[in-house]
Symmetry: C2
Subunit: 232 residues, 2 copies
Amino acid sequence: MAVNVHGPKITPRDRIRRKPKRRMPAAKRRELIIDAAIDAFAEGGYHETSLEEVAVRAEVSKALIYEHFPSKLDLFQELLETYVEELQNGVMAAVMATTEGGETRLLAGVEGFLEFVEDRRDAWRMLIRHRATDDVNDTFEKLYGEMAGMIGALMAPEMPASVLPEGASFEDVVDAMSRQLLGALTAIANWWDEHRDIPRDQVLAMVMEFAWVGMERAAAGERWKPDQVEGH
Amino acid sequence: MAVNVHGPKITPRDRIRRKPKRRMPAAKRRELIIDAAIDAFAEGGYHETSLEEVAVRAEVSKALIYEHFPSKLDLFQELLETYVEELQNGVMAAVMATTEGGETRLLAGVEGFLEFVEDRRDAWRMLIRHRATDDVNDTFEKLYGEMAGMIGALMAPEMPASVLPEGASFEDVVDAMSRQLLGALTAIANWWDEHRDIPRDQVLAMVMEFAWVGMERAAAGERWKPDQVEGH
DNA sequence: ATCCTAACTGACCGGCCAGTCAGTTAGGAG
DNA sequence: CTCCTAACTGACTGGCCGGTCAGTTAGGAT
């Protein structure tokens, strides 16, 4: 702002001394930009975060970003896809590591999910804070759909036909149930994000109490017993 | 566009005939603008919907909107607050109409919630599709907080201290549980919005099955019995 | 030493959109 | 009929931001 406006002159030498901007191989710079972008988007969301903002955080000119990414949307999508994949892989791995039947595997999946939320809080924020943003929305809808699908696939074999309310298809019921679980999961993850002091096991216990035990039995004083779980 | 550019002249008379724009008392016009705004925002969200878009839908010039509302944000907030209030009142009324104890009242609340979603689909979309929009976010956070508070207040007395996992406060548990319920509720409401053919009772049954019965018992084939509820 | 490429930048453009303003006109009061 | 106000509009502005471009320079290869 008030720099070099009739103040003591700044010679080219000074500028050079002032800007020891080190050049970097493209790959490294790319990483730095990505890191800055995750930060920025996690904090403000896609639309509310300008590329200039990302550029400043990366300590780089906006134009340079375009050397690495064709557009703002592409940059964002790349981040998204990276983390969506990571989340899915994490959950999948947790599920697959369990040799037991459906319910226990589902539980393992929930744990995997919570682990991601715990380890990648920035990514988690970037992922959920910005559902419903036109261009980007498709990616989210896809993520939600796939997650719900995974959950549903795990639930379906456990679900006896007797659960069927007349008039609804089996698929609908499975779908609705898995979305509810996903919704509850998302909600508690967001809540957890504001209560970081609470350990993961505790959160897991709350999920189990809510979703597994059910409110009716919970009200009756029954609890989920962590020791019924293997693998951890 | 291609009007009156060397084509057959349009006399002032024609313009008048073409635009039988009837003037209206301010209050009536205001209503129309509000209706148009709900439509527009429900479809596209706050940021993605321009005031011009709203103006077009209301068949009115953008400038006129400023005669009724000081800013775009104010217009949106007014809608929000109106519907937030309506939703809260609806749920509250349903809860209060039940003379019985906690669990049944909570159930009534869920029904009230679903009723709002069913009757005011536009409003519902406007409400949930646009969490996480900087300026507007506060209002949502408030809504969520208040809803969770209501649910929590209903749940708390039903919740035996024995449910407490060691290390977490009672408030935390109630809070986490109510947020999960709210999350599940939101999720199924969104799902329902894409499956309108399914009757409300059915959706209610699914919520009860998930949240009340719990997955463990559901997997064992137990079902929630609608007849255990009074008041419809 | 010099050159050549790839890293990097500042300055600019054009489109979009909230918000403004200088008016025009409908239609009721007198 | 004639005013006068409130309803209403088109045309404009200024700021923001994604995207571009014409360069500048670091630093490795020869």
